[in-house]
C-alpha cells in the first residue's frame, strides 16, 4: 500500500501552549488577589474594577476558560493529529480558533472588570461575547471533525470519544444557558427566572465542571499519560463503560447545587442520587489512569511529568468522591454556602486541572523543540511546591467551612443563636490568611515552570511541521468478529449524535417538568414586579457581583429561619431575571434584607462597612455614592422585562422614570432625616431601594 507523507502542525499547539501558561498565571494572580481581599479589605484599592465581586468572576472565568480552555486546545490539537494520523483539517480554521478564543478572553477580562455581567456564575459574559463563543466553538468543531473525517486511522481512540462528547455537550450547555434578552450592547436579562433560572444555571454550572474541566482533561489523560509512561492503557472495556456512564450520569447531577433551596424536592433528589451513581464512572477514569502506570512506578520516581499526572489523577479521584458525599443532604447542610465548597473545587482545579496542564506542558515543549527539558530538578521542585501549596490551600478552607457551619448552627440553651454572623466571619480569618499562603506557593511553582520552559525553548529548535507518514484509509471490508463497541469507533458522526442524545436525556427530564408543571413553582399573589428604581438597584447589585458573597436563599433550617426569617419559597423569585441565590455566604444571606435596617444604615454601610459592622471584610463601595443612576436605560429595561412576561402595565416604560424619581425622592428624604445628604439619582439610592425590597412581598400576605 502507498504510504502518504504529511506534516503535523505544531505551530498551533505552540500558540495554545503559550496562551495556557500566560492565562494560567493571570488567572492565578486574580485568584490570589481576591483571596487576600478576604482578610485585607483595603486590597480592593477602593477601585470598582478590583473589588472582590468583579475580581472573583474574572478569576473563575480566567482559570476555567482561559487557562484550562487553552490547555484543552493545546492537548487536543497535539493529540488529535497524531491519533488521526492527519494534519489539522484547516490551518486557517486553527488560526481563527486561536485568535478568536484569545479575543474572547481579553473581551471577557475587560467587560468583567468594568462590571458588565449577566450575574450567572461561570456564565457571566454578556451576550455579544456569548455569541462570539458560540461561533469560535463551531470553528473548533468544524476543524476537529474535519480532521477526524480525513483521518488515516480507522478507529477512534478513547481520547477522541471524550473530545467529541465535550464538544457537543459544551455547545448544548452554552446555548441553552445563554438564552437572554439584550437590553443594550452590554446588558441583557436571562430568559429564565427564579427557580427555573437556578435549575438551568446549575445544570450548566455543574456540567461546565463535567464537560469543560473533566471530560476533555480525561481525553488528554488518555493520550499523555500512556505516552509519558510508555505503558498500554489498563483496560479498554473500562474505558467504554466509564465513558458512556460518565456522560450519561453527569448531566443529571446539577440540582445537587440547589439542595434545600426552593427547587422542587424531586429535582433535588435526582441531583443527589445521580451524584452518588457518578462515583464509579468517575473512578473508572482514575483507575484507568493509575493502573496504566503498573510496571512504570519506577519511572514515576524520576519523571516529573508522571509525578504531576499521578497527583492530578489522585486529586480527580478525591474530588469525585467528595463531590457525591457533599450531595448527600445531611452533608450538604453543613458544606453548602461555606468554604468547604471552595476547598473542594480547588482540589479539582489546582490538583486535577492544574497538574494535568503542567504535566502536559513539561512533556510537550521538549518534544516540540527537540531537546530535553532544561531542568528536571526544577520541575520536581515545582511539583513539590504545587503539592504542598494545594495542601496548605485546602486544609484551612475545610477547617474554615466546617467551623463556620457549626457556628451558624449553634444555639444557646435559651434558644438564641449563639453567634452573630460577623463573629463567624472574623473567627475564620486566620484560615483565609493561610489559604492565600498555599495559593502563593502554587503560583510560585507556576512561575518556576514558565522559567524552566523558557530555558528549554531557548535551548531547542522549534519543529513547526513534524513529518509523519501513514497509509490512507482503505474502504473497510473486514467482516472479522470484533469487540461490539468497535463499530461505533469507526463512525464519528454516529458517535456525535449518540453522545448528544445521551447527554440530552438528563437535562430534559429535569427541566421540562420544572418549566411546564405549575405546581413546581406555586404562585404567591402578593409577589409583585420590582419598581423601576428597584430594578436599577438590582442591576447595580448584579454589576458589583454581590452574589459572589451574599446568598438570597434561606434554607428550611432552624438556624437560618432564626437568623434570616421565613425560609425562601419558589414563588418569590418569579420576576428574578436572573436569579441571585448565590452559592457562597462570605456575607450573610440577603433574601429578607428588606426592612431589617434603616436606609441610613445601608448608606453608611456601603460607604464604609466597618463603620456599621466593625471587623467586617466587605469592600467599601464609595463610588455608588457619586455615580448617577443610568435612567436613560430604564424604558428599555422595562420593555425587556415585559417581553419576558413580567406584568408591567402597557406603556409603563414611558412613565417608568417618573415612578423611579418619586421613589428615589422618598429615600432621599428618609436619608436626610438621618443627616445624610444625597442626590436622589445617586446609585446608592437605587441599591437601597432594592435591598429594602428584598423578601418583603411575602410578608404582605402574612399581614392581610
Amino acid at each position: 500500500m502507498q504510504v502518504e507523507q504529511f506534516h503535523y502542525d505544531n505551530k498551533i499547539v505552540k500558540q495554545f501552549a503559550y496562551a495556557t501558561a500566560l492565562w494560567g498565571i493571570v488567572g492565578m494572580i486574580a485568584g490570589l488577589w481576591a483571596a487576600i481581599q478576604l482578610y485585607a479589605p483595603g486590597a480592593t484599592l477602593n477601585f470598582a474594577p478590583t473589588t472582590f465581586g468583579r475580581l472573583r468572576p474574572l478569576h473563575t472565568n480566567a482559570v476555567i476558560f482561559a487557562f484550562v480552555g487553552n490547555c484543552i486546545f493545546t492537548g487536543v490539537y497535539y493529540s488529535l493529529q497524531r491519533l488521526c494520523k492527519a494534519r489539522m483539517y484547516s490551518d486557517k480554521l486553527s488560526k481563527l480558533h486561536f485568535w478568536g478564543w484569545q479575543g474572547i478572553i481579553v473581551a471577557a477580562a475587560l467587560t468583567l472588570l468594568l462590571g458588565y455581567t449577566t450575574g450567572k456564575e461561570y456564565a457571566e459574559l454578556e451576550w455579544p461575547i456569548d455569541i462570539a463563543i458560540t461561533l469560535v466553538w463551531v470553528v473548533f468543531g468544524i476543524n476537529m471533525f474535519g480532521t477526524i473525517i480525513k483521518r488515516r486511522e480507522r478507529h477512534l481512540y478513547v481520547a477522541i470519544w471524550f473530545y467529541i462528547a465535550t464538544w457537543v455537550t459544551v455547545a448544548l450547555l452554552h446555548i441553552v444557558n445563554s438564552v437572554e434578552i439584550p437590553v443594550s450592547l452590554f446588558k441583557s436579562y436571562s430568559w429564565y427566572a427564579g427557580v427555573q433560572d437556578a435549575l438551568v444555571q446549575w445544570w450548566y454550572g455543574h456540567n461546565a465542571v463535567a464537560f469543560f474541566l473533566t471530560t476533555p482533561i480525561l481525553g488528554l489523560m488518555y493520550y499523555f499519560l500512556p505516552k509519558a509512561a510508555n505503558r498500554p492503557v489498563y483496560s479498554y472495556r473500562l474505558s467504554i463503560i466509564h465513558f458512556w456512564a460518565l456522560i450519561f450520569i453527569y448531566i443529571w447531577a446539577g440540582p445537587h447545587h440547589l439542595l434545600y433551596t426552593a427547587l422542587p424536592d424531586w429535582a433535588q433528589s435526582l441531583g443527589t442520587v445521580f451524584s452518588i451513581m457518578l462515583i464509579a464512572p468517575s473512578w473508572g477514569g482514575m483507575l484507568n489512569g493509575l493502573f496504566t502506570l503498573r510496571g512504570a512506578w519506577d519511572k514515576v520516581r524520576e519523571e516529573p511529568v508522571l509525578k504531576f499526572f499521578v497527583v492530578a489523577v489522585t486529586c480527580y479521584g478525591m474530588a469525585t468522591f467528595e463531590g457525591p458525599m457533599m450531595s448527600l443532604k445531611n452533608v450538604n447542610a453543613i458544606s453548602h454556602f461555606t468554604d468547604w465548597t471552595i476547598a473542594h473545587v480547588h482540589i479539582g482545579g489546582l490538583g486535577w486541572n492544574g497538574f494535568m496542564a503542567f504535566g502536559m506542558l513539561y512533556w510537550l515543549i521538549p518534544r516540540m523543540w527537540g531537546t530535553p527539558l532544561h531542568s528536571k530538578k526544577l520541575a520536581t521542585n515545582h511539583f513539590w511546591l504545587g503539592t504542598i501549596g494545594i495542601v496548605i490551600y485546602a486544609i484551612p478552607l475545610y477547617w474554615a467551612g466546617f467551623t463556620q457551619a457549626q457556628m451558624w448552627k449553634t444555639f444557646t440553651e435559651e434558644g438564641q443563636l449563639k453567634f452573630q454572623f460577623l463573629e463567624t466571619v472574623t473567627h475564620i480569618i486566620p484560615m483565609y490568611v493561610t489559604r492565600s499562603i498555599g495559593g502563593s506557593l502554587y503560583l510560585i511553582g507556576a512561575f518556576l515552570m514558565v522559567y524552566n520552559l523558557y530555558k528549554t525553548i531557548k535551548k531547542g529548535r522549534f519543529i513547526a511541521n513534524e513529518a509523519a507518514e501513514a497509509a490512507p484509509l482503505e474502504k473497510h471490508t473486514s467482516h472479522a468478529k470484533e469487540y461490539w463497541h468497535r463499530w461505533i469507533e469507526k463512525k464519528p458522526m454516529t458517535m456525535l449524535v449518540l453522545s448528544l442524545i445521551v447527554v440530552a436525556i438528563g437535562g430534559a427530564i429535569e427541566m421540562i417538568p420544572t418549566f411546564l408543571v405549575k405546581s413546581n413553582v406555586p404562585t404567591i399573589a402578593s409577589v409583585r414586579p420590582y419598581t423601576p428604581l428597584e430594578l436599577q438597584g438590582r442591576d447595580i447589585y448584579v454589576r458589583e457581583g454581590c452574589y459572589t458573597c451574599h446568598s438570597q436563599m434561606i434554607r428550611p433550617f432552624r438556624d437560618e429561619v432564626a437568623r434570616y426569617g421565613e425560609y425562601s419559597k419558589a414563588g418569590e423569585f418569579v420576576y428574578d431575571h436572573p436569579f441571585q441565590w448565590g452559592s457562597k455566604r462570605t456575607g450573610p444571606d440577603l433574601a429578607r434584607e428588606g426592612g431589617k435596617y434603616p436606609d441610613s444604615w445601608h448608606y453608611n454601610h456601603m460607604m464604609d462597612p466597618r463603620i456599621m459592622s466593625p471587623g467586617s471584610i466587605m469592600p467599601a463601595y464609595g463610588w455608588l455614592l457619586d455615580n448617577k443612576i443610568d435612567t436613560a436605560s430604564t424604558p428599555a429595561k422595562i420593555r425587556a422585562m415585559q417581553k419576558l412576561g413580567v406584568p408591567y402595565p402597557a406603556g409603563f416604560d414611558k412613565i417608568a422614570n417618573k415612578d423611579l424619581m418619586t421613589q428615589a425622592n422618598g429615600i432621599r428624604i428618609n436619608l436626610k432625616m438621618d443627616k445624610i445628604e444625597t442626590p436622589k439619582d445617586a446609585e446608592i439610592v437605587a441599591l437601597i431601594a432594592y435591598l429594602q425590597r428584598l423578601g418583603k412581598d411575602i410578608k404582605a400576605t402574612a399581614k392581610q
Binding site: S79, S235, G284, R294, T410, Q420
Partner: protein, 404 residues
C-alpha cells in the same frame, strides 16, 4: 480429598456472604445517613458524630473484607501445600486437615454474623425511618454494628495468626519447601492480570504507539457501581414513594418542635425567664457591665457608643419614641420596630441579656454625651419623678412631626 472440596465450598459461600453483607451494609447506613435526613443535623453535635460513626462502620467493613481475603488466601495457600504433601506421603497429615476444616467451619458463622448484621441494618432502616433524628435505636444499632464488626476483625486476626503459626511451624519442619510466588492481594482485589502475562490481553490496538489492554473490571469497582444504583433506588423510594423520609419542610418542622421543647425545658429550669411583663431594672454592677458589653456589640452602630444616637435615636435624653420605662425598652429591643428600622433582637439576645441591656440603657440616662442627636418622641418621666418642662414638650412635638 474431601477437605479440599469443603474448603472450596466454604470459600465460595464465604465470598458470597461477604459480598451480600457488604452490599447491604454499604447501602443501609448510607441510606440511613442520607435518607434519615435527621434534623439532628440542626444541632451542632450530631452531624459530625453520625458521619464519623458511619465512616468508622465503613472502614471496619473494608478492613473485614481485606482481612477475610487474606485469611482466605492463607487458607488456600495452606491447602495447596497440604495437597502437595498428601501426594507425596498420602494421608499423613490428616490431623492438620481436620483442624483447618474446623477452623474454616468456624469462619462460616463469623461471616454469617456479618450477614445477619447487614440484614439487621436493612431492618433498622425501615424501623428508624419514622424517627426524625438519630434515635436511640439508630444509635445503638450503629454502635452494635461497630461492635460486631470489631469482633469479626478480631476473629479474623486470630485465625490469621493461627495460619501464620502453622505456616511457620511447617517452614521450620521442612525448610526445603520453596515458596510459590502467589498472586498478590492487590492484583487479586483488582483482578489484575500479572504484567508478565500482559500479552494475552493486549488487544492489538495501536494509536500513535498507545496500546490497549483488556483487563477485567475491578470487582469492587463494579459492585460499588451496583451498590450506588441500589442506593439511588432506595433513596428515591423513601423520599418520593413511601414518604418514610422527611421532605426539607418536614425536617424543619421536626427541628422546630424539638427546639421549642428543649428551650421550654431549659427556661423552666433556669431563672432567666424574664419577659416584658416581669422585667425590673437591674442595678448590680456586673449586670450593668454585661448590658454595656451587649450594647457596644450590637446597639452602638446605630445608637452611638455612648447612646447619643446616630441612625437610631438618642437613648440618654428624656424623650422616647416607644416609651421609656424598662418594660417598654425591653419590649422595643425584644420585638423591634421594624418599620422604623429597629430590628427585633429576640433571636439574637437571651431574655436575660435583653434585661441587662435595658438596664444599661436606663443607667446612661441623663449622661449628656457629646454629639447627641436631637430629641425624638414623647417626654417620658420616671414614675414618682418631678417636673415637666412645657417647652420640651413643644420641641418634642415639632421633632416628631419632622421625623415622620
Amino acid at each position: 480429598m474431601s477437605g479440599i472440596y469443603w474448603y472450596k465450598k466454604l470459600n465460595n459461600k464465604a465470598y458470597r456472604s461477604i459480598l451480600t453483607g457488604a452490599v447491604l451494609l454499604c447501602a443501609a447506613p448510607a441510606a440511613l445517613a442520607a435518607g434519615g435526613g435527621q434534623p439532628a443535623k440542626e444541632s451542632s453535635m450530631y452531624d459530625p458524630f453520625v458521619i464519623t460513626m458511619i465512616i468508622i462502620m465503613l472502614i471496619l467493613l473494608l478492613a473485614i473484607g481485606l482481612l477475610a481475603n487474606v485469611v482466605m488466601g492463607a487458607a488456600s495457600y495452606y491447602y495447596q501445600k497440604e495437597k502437595e504433601r498428601e501426594q507425596q506421603k498420602s494421608g499423613a497429615s490428616a490431623v492438620a486437615a481436620v483442624t483447618t476444616v474446623l477452623l474454616l467451619l468456624f469462619a462460616a458463622p463469623v461471616f454469617a454474623q456479618g450477614g445477619n448484621a447487614a440484614i439487621d441494618a436493612a431492618a433498622t432502616v425501615q424501623a428508624t425511618s419514622s424517627f426524625g433524628g438519630l434515635s436511640p435505636t439508630a444509635f445503638y444499632f450503629i454502635v452494635g454494628v461497630i461492635g460486631i464488626e470489631l469482633l469479626v476483625v478480631f476473629m479474623l486476626l486470630y485465625q490469621l495468626r493461627v495460619f501464620l503459626a502453622k505456616e511457620k511451624l511447617q517452614q521450620d519442619l521442612a525448610a526445603q519447601v520453596v515458596k510459590k510466588p502467589g498472586v498478590s492481594f492487590w492484583d487479586k482485589m483488582n483482578k489484575l492480570k500479572p504484567i508478565e502475562q500482559e500479552a494475552q490481553i493486549d488487544l492489538g490496538h495501536d494509536y500513535d504507539g498507545i496500546r490497549e489492554l483488556d483487563n477485567r473490571l475491578p470487582p469492587w469497582w463494579l459492585y460499588g457501581f451496583y451498590v450506588s444504583i441500589i442506593f439511588a433506588a432506595v433513596y428515591v423510594w423513601r423520599f418520593h414513594v413511601s414518604h418514610t423520609a422527611p421532605s426539607s419542610a418536614e425536617e424543619l418542622q421536626i427541628a422546630m418542635v424539638k427546639a421549642e421543647e428543649q428551650k421550654a425545658l431549659y427556661l423552666k429550669k433556669s431563672a432567666s425567664n424574664v419577659d416584658e411583663n416581669t422585667v425590673k431594672v437591674l442595678t448590680d454592677a456586673a449586670e450593668i457591665a454585661g448590658g454595656e458589653k451587649v450594647f457596644i456589640q450590637n446597639c452602638a452602630a446605630c445608637h452611638g457608643k455612648a447612646g447619643e444616637g446616630s441612625v437610631g435615636p438618642n437613648l440618654t435624653d428624656d424623650y422616647w419614641l416607644h416609651g421609656g420605662s424598662v418594660k417598654d425598652v425591653f419590649k422595643s429591643i425584644k420585638y423591634g420596630w421594624p418599620e422604623k428600622g429597629m430590628r427585633s433582637w429576640k433571636d439574637d439576645l437571651s431574655p436575660m441579656q435583653i434585661a441587662q441591656v435595658s438596664s444599661y440603657i436606663k443607667s446612661i440616662h441623663g449622661t449628656n454625651p457629646p454629639n447627641a442627636k436631637a430629641q425624638q418622641g414623647e417626654l417620658y418621666k420616671e414614675e414618682g419623678a418631678g417636673n415637666t418642662n412645657p417647652a420640651d414638650s413643644l420641641n418634642n412635638k415639632v421633632a416628631s412631626a419632622t421625623n415622620k
